[in-house]
């Protein structure tokens, strides 16, 4: 792509560094900003600079927070004895949206992935083990994605917990509510049969 302006080229280049944004989309976005009032652009650039420089992570669960301890961890009504281990803060938001979980979270910040050069030391695992040792955590729920990396991470943490008095569980995998069996993949359908639940439980849940 040939640009008639260095400023434009630079803005498009920086925009295209975002994931899923190619050169053409970046150009479209930048030209859109040019058509908007100048305040709009300033609001956007200020918002992201400010977030980046002032962002704070909860010192207990590593969720993004404006305060030292996040609202969830600071809430006395939540059950401190159950901790749900998730990959990133989007998972916290997704689980919070269900209103089905009243415990606390622990945000790992990723999964162990040798392919991408992410090892256990890059994740918030040490602080999780610390938390289990020091606080009264009775149950850890692993809610990582069920990929090879997710399973590896679960297993790594599981091994680190040896000798500690804590039970572990994973979230249930199965056919989505409302899905047709014939279109489900075999692995999921297989798991949902192996991990079948008493009928009374499914009545309670609905």
């Amino acid at each position: 792509m040939e640009f008639s302006s260095k400023l434009l080229e630079n803005a498009v280049y920086e925009m295209s560094q975002l994931p899923g944004i190619g050169k053409r989309t970046a150009l479209r976005l930048v030209l859109h900003l040019l058509k908007q009032p100048e305040e709009r652009t300033n609001l956007l650039s200020e918002a992201i600079t400010k977030l980046r420089s002032e962002v704070n992570f909860c010192k207990s669960c590593h969720n993004i927070s404006d305060t030292e301890v996040c609202e969830i961890c600071a809430n006395p009504k939540r059950d401190e004895t159950i901790v749900c281990v998730v990959e990133d803060i989007r998972d916290v938001m997704a689980i919070e949206n269900t209103s089905q979980f009243n415990g606390l979270y622990h945000v790992l910040g990723g999964k162990i992935s040798p392919m991408e050069g992410v090892g256990p030391q890059d994740l918030n695992i040490v602080s999780l083990i610390q938390r289990v040792k020091e606080k009264e955590v009775k149950e850890l729920i692993f809610a990582l994605s069920s990929t090879m990396e997710g399973d590896t991470t679960n297993f790594y943490i599981y091994r680190q917990l040896e000798g500690l008095n804590v039970t572990t569980s994973t979230i249930a995998r199965g056919i989505s509510v409302g899905d047709e069996l014939e279109y489900a993949d075999e692995v999921t359908l297989g798991r949902s049969i192996l991990n079948r639940v008493p009928f009374e439980n499914s009545i309670k849940a609905s």
Copy 2:
């Protein structure tokens, strides 16, 4: 979506104001920025702020340019007597990429669209007529998209040119090179038959 941080919420909101970027994508982009070194975020926000505040439009053709007159208009090797009228600077880039046009451009900045509240006064039409009157423009090529708005704009400009000594043309519409006739839409195929060109021309072009 419930956010655990006002800063995050604000950054996601501003990002989601861009066209084609929904709340979820905005969150993904912002979280990506958070994982990158702080310089990356600063480079992005500086690039767009700088572009917005220092951007310059060529005073002749209204293309984006770092100088008062853009490189194309300032190039003495280009044919000043032919002006190609386009909607926005992406069209200039697209035509430049073909290396088939040696004239100058005129960027309107949009199309006449009563539905979106865009009238002739919002576009660079007055300066186009001025240019035809003052400079030695012999031919105007309309290269707007062939929608109702594009046709309206073409016709509006055509009427404004009455009495001026300038010929007008539109770019050829027809079946794309390499396309199969059976899949072409009727209007395009119809036009490509009506506007057939001497066989010798097609030999020359290829």
